[in-house]
Symmetry: C2
Subunit: 154 residues, 2 copies
């Protein structure tokens, strides 16, 4: 009987939080466009003409996942993908008019959903919520990329 209490395990809580979010997104925002897909649209609204890898970096998706997400958005006609004439390895990404319209529509709904999602917390608690999660996530990410040792001594 050495069972552990999962409610004190951050990983378990993170998973449950994401599931809860997934559920709410599906009912309040869109059944077609997912949250990661919206993140990609958003990145391309901010910086049109980015390449695939950089978009992935902006929204936190690895090379394989971003390829899949972009392929889906392309199939739906929300973005265009053209070879960079300057660098034949890259694809430059740009939203279509439909993509822009979709982003605009979902931006409104997403804001509403975030309000509902965070409703159990007061304004100060919401700030804290963001801050705590961001600090934990950033720190763990930093463990992977050991902040490049600028100059190797000697």
């Amino acid at each position: 009987m050495a069972a552990v209490d999962l409610t004190t395990h951050p990983g378990h809580l993170a998973r449950r939080l994401q599931q809860a979010h997934y559920l709410l997104w599906n009912t309040m925002v869109s059944e077609e466009i997912t949250s990661p897909q919206f993140a990609v649209l958003n990145a391309l609204v901010a910086e049109p003409g980015l390449d695939q890898r950089t978009v992935g970096e902006r929204v936190g998706l690895d090379r394989s996942t971003i390829a899949e997400v972009i392929s889906r958005l392309g199939r739906r006609g929300l973005l265009d993908k053209v070879r960079d004439p300057q660098d034949g390895r890259r694809f430059l990404l740009r939203l279509t008019d439909d993509g822009l319209r979709t982003h605009k529509k979902l931006t409104v709904r997403t804001a509403r959903m975030n309000q509902v999602f965070l409703a159990p917390l007061s304004a100060e608690e919401q700030t804290l919520f963001f801050d705590l999660i961001r600090r934990v996530a950033d720190a763990a990410e930093g463990l992977r990329n050991p902040a490049e040792p600028l100059v190797t001594q000697s």
Copy 2:
């Protein structure tokens, strides 16, 4: 230029938090057993002989996902699955000796990982972290299951 700041979107943060956790789990706990798989082992340590659906309920996994996870654990020989003689629809689940040993080993490593993961936060902040996430997740879950209206008036 109506791009949005994703760092104030709880869904985006939740995803990043989970990715960070996934990374740390892989390096500090196990490359074989995943966090959801550990959750299932843990549930069966606490309550041996549970059926599949109930285990899913305990750890927060839907019927399809829990079936896959259990099938993997079965293939690895960490649990046994037998028809309930009392109810031919159910499978009763029980850890093997190997399953118990694995759970014990991972429990230690998981505790270490949680410490590292939460190291950026003070003790009070950690408590707050759990509390805030749990409240948000619980509330969103409650929206799905509308808390069964005990007695339908008239």
